[in-house]
Amino acid sequence: MVKYRESGTPVREARTLLLGIDVGGTSTDGVLMHDGALVMSVKKPSSREKLAGTILEVLDELLEGRDPGALRRLVISTTLVTNLLATRSGPRTALILVPGRGLPFDYFRLAPDTYFLKGSIDFRGQVTEEISPFEIEKAVAHIRAAGIRHLAVAAKFSIRNQAVEQEIVRTLRRLYPEARVVSGSETANRMNFPRRAATAYYSAMTGEAWEEFVREIREALRRRGIKAPVEILKADGGTMPLEVSRQNPVETVFSGPAASAMGAVALTRRRENAVVLDIGGTTTDIALLIEGEPLHASKGARIHGRFTHIQALALRSLALGGDSVVKGAAGGVEITAERAGPAACFGGPAATVSDAFVVHLNLDLGDRARAEEKLAAAAAGSGLEPRAFAAAVVDQTLERLSRLMQEMFREWENEPAYKVWEIVHRRSFRLDRLVGIGGAAELVVPLLAEKMKVPGLVHRLAPVANALGAAVARPTLTVQLYADTQQGRYLIDREGIEGPIENPASFQLEEAKKTALDWLARLASAKGAGEYVGQARVNMAEQFNMIRGYSRVGKIFRVEVQIAPGIIDAFKGVSD
């Protein structure tokens, strides 16, 4: 396609293709989009052993016969970190903690190789007990002798004083240069010491494998002459450049559901409250969109049952999908958590949830006679007629899904609040729409939407919503600032950043916000999100007067600013 500039010089229409790849548990999906239209999609079985290999196969198929120069961006959502953690196959990692005063040390024994160091910091950042270099040496000797090369360091209240942690990191690097050291204050320096420790620990554990993946992808793209920016999808539904992902690879955990939710955002593109139902074979994942943005879990991603500081979607799963086998039980139906194969109407061996919907709705989908036959067999034990049995399965499915959704709404409404205003003006969830994706969504979502009296949407691109979500998700970045004017300094929650407050006496909330936004802008341009700084918003801004005696001695500020998950500006929605 050729376009002419006003000067009349013909130029190639460049960099308009968006490419997204989502590695799932069973299959890897890829899409190529151009101007809101799907150019091509690819599906391949996922392979745990050759993760990068599968990604490249999908990439090659999508780009076959096309000019790599036409690619605007390439986004990958991968299960590498998720799998590494799920299978507990990461390398042995040491967790070095400075818990200081408070809970007993044992409550922070988050890992088999946890080392506790002396030292204590208080909530204002004052060191109340010094660390001991001798203890660090002893710990290093022990760690080295155990053959552990991956180290994570976290100190309680490093959110108020990063120097202690950084001193330990320096000592570790000096004494044990072959080791890889990650610290809590560099990864996510936010309040909650155990979550910070867990985040640093899993980041240290996955760092090496991720580096290898990055090298492999980088090399493969170089060989193919692909110069387009490559981004990685994070658990929060945002992206980060491939190179940036090396800083904190654990942020890529659970990116699959984030890809699907962003796909739903891309397909609806409305600032409304919606439920995204990803109805698969035997499970349904439910995510919420609040005014068009995916809702994050308030306690962060959970890994091995531990909370972390990794922002991830507030996701709820139900062991119920299109292929779930249904059985007759005394006077009713039982929807099992098992899968025996595809639905009977598609040649499967047993009656499933999908079969019940097909029969109940008289749909011409696959072999309905076979679905009826299998349902009749399953209904035998229930004392119900086959059609009544199908209706009962449909009812139970809708009931369980709607109950779980209601629970999620209540949870959102009852999120912790610490201000009078928030309690008096408790928010209430108003549902605007159901968005279905996944294999069985087409069957379930219309009836569910009817039951909940809201519009339902199952877009024709729903089957590739996950890869689409990856392709069009924009970068995200959240920055927290903590400032103490009595001490004349502020801290940023990333990369150990700290700075002075020039005029403590006149430093006000507006300046605190501005400082946070300035840092967001600086970090964003380093992290490939510079384009969206203008769309950043202030999520939280607190200020407290510090009164000693009867006069003010200073102020404490906490500010959070964010480039929230969203869709890249270049994508204007799906053309119908």
Binding site: R101, N414, P416, Y418, I423, V424, G549, Y550, I556
Partner: protein
């Protein structure tokens, strides 16, 4: 094992005035400490969110003059509602015990409320207790007030109720606000012996307070057998508190609460926001959740710093013995009252509202009934700064009131109303058995039912 319920409501947007001890900053460092520890993520802990207490919840305890809206802010309703939520969590068995870390506090608020005294407008514990009695049928309740100031509001509310054992230890009233809480304050005649005060000498240490616990509080609880123990948990006995002069430590608070094992703790005072509250609040949480506290201490803590004066210990032992005796003789004393044939017990008192500068004069009459814990009639006149005066007459019918006394009280209220208020500005009827609360505006001859 059931978890411990925690409701943390720091009211980060509420203060009495910008530099007042009861200001936004008060629970800031407590927030830092408990959230940095990850306390709310522990399996032993379940976090709760407050709701708004309703006017009826408040009217069950208080006569608010001229109205609930006039003497409370939304912050008070949320704080009291926080105590209600924790009360529900414990009463329904969702948690084994619960701690409402709420502000504003409440233990200086009495039955009649003309304004704020001792930083309190409405009594969070009493509102919770009357709600729990109503909803879950509790009868016998013990309140242990561990705030450094005498819990005079709670004492007054339960002074006439033999089913509520109120025990308060505090810095001697001769040296600290509110200037009451002496050994002689034992309860109104029908409830004598179920109000127990232990005034402590300034500078009393962990050892002294734990002695009071062991030798007085625990034996009394053992004998009284309450269905519910509530800790009215002030944290200003701490050695760094700016308003008081005691020498209690976080370790001492943890030991106290471990042994006391209250079902519910409700935060009261405590104004050493940076050097005490983070540690003491965490100490209470650990004690209630059954987590060891040996790694929790103030940065400047020195176990050898505070030595208890042997003379003080001997005095506390004597006081404990005296109060045990007063408690044991309570039935005898009450029997004597019943036999005296008197119809009413009458008392008068003056109450000062330090925050709002109000002088109140009260006359209280309690019906002496051989069959029940009978009703009270409170006549109260309040002189506000700048000369405004308000006079109210309040009829309070407790849950355990017999039907004859209850009818009598209601008739007396109706009679006063028909007389056009008998010289009062407002009349109040608090009928707890019916859960019915009314206020009559005498000048307008207008009655409202509070719901």
């Amino acid at each position: 094992m059931k978890p411990t319920g925690i409701l943390f409501f720091p009211a980060f947007d509420w203060a009495i005035s910008p530099t007042h001890p009861e200001r936004e900053e008060r629970l800031l460092y407590t927030r830092d400490q408990i959230f940095e520890e990850g306390v709310m993520d522990l399996p032993q802990i379940r976090e709760y969110q407050p709701r708004l207490a309703t006017p009826r919840d408040i009217a069950r305890v208080h006569f608010c003059v001229p109205s609930i809206e006039a003497v409370t802010t939304e912050a008070h309703l949320v704080s009291a509602g926080g105590a209600l939520v924790i009360g529900d969590a414990v009463a329904s068995g969702e948690v084994k015990n619960g701690f409402a870390i709420i502000r504003p506090p409440g233990h200086h608020a009495m039955s009649v409320v003309h304004g704020n005294r001792g930083f309190c407008n409405i009594n969070n514990e009493a509102i919770m207790i009357e709600y729990l009695r109503r909803r879950y049928g509790y009868r016998r309740i013990a309140i242990v007030d561990t705030d450094v100031h005498h819990g005079d509001g709670t004492q007054e509310i339960y002074y006439h109720d033999p089913d509520v054992l109120f025990i308060s230890f505090h810095q001697d009233g001769r040296t600290l606000y509110p200037g009451s809480g002496f050994v002689e304050e034992l309860g109104a005649p029908p409830a004598v012996g179920t109000t127990i005060n232990i005034p402590l000498a300034p500078y009393t240490t962990d050892q002294g307070i734990l002695l009071v616990l062991e030798e007085l509080i625990l034996p009394l609880l053992e004998e009284f057998k309450p269905e519910l123990v509530v800790n009215s948990a002030g944290q200003d006995n701490h050695y760094t508190d700016p308003l008081a002069s005691m020498r209690f430590t976080a370790t001492g608070y943890a030991q106290l609460n471990r042994k006391l094992a209250p079902h519910i703790a409700v935060l009261e005072g405590g104004y050493s926001v940076e050097t005490a509250l983070p540690y003491v609040n965490l100490a209470l949480i650990l004690a209630m959740a059954g987590i060891e506290h040996d790694n929790l201490r103030e940065p400047d803590y020195d176990p050898a710093a505070f030595k208890e004066d042997p003379g003080n210990l001997a005095r506390l032992k004597r006081m404990a013995a005296l109060q045990r005796e007063n408690f044991r003789r309570r039935e005898e004393e009450r029997e004597a009252v019943r036999k005296s044939g008197q119809d009413f017990y009458t008392a008068t008192r003056r109450i000062y509202y330090d925050t709002d500068n109000i002088h109140e004069f009260q006359q209280v009459r309690q019906r002496l009934c051989p069959r029940c814990c009978s009703y009270r009639v409170i006549a109260s006149a309040a002189a506000h700064a700048y000369g405004r005066q308000t006079r109210v007459l309040c009829f309070s019918i407790p849950l355990a009131c017999c039907s004859a006394c209850r009818d009598e009280a209601r008739e007396a209220y109706i009679r006063s109303r028909e007389e056009g208020g008998a010289g009062f500005d407002y009349l109040y009827l608090q009928d707890r058995p019916a859960d019915e609360y009314r206020r009559f505006h005498c000048q307008r001859e207008q009655e409202v039912t509070i719901v």
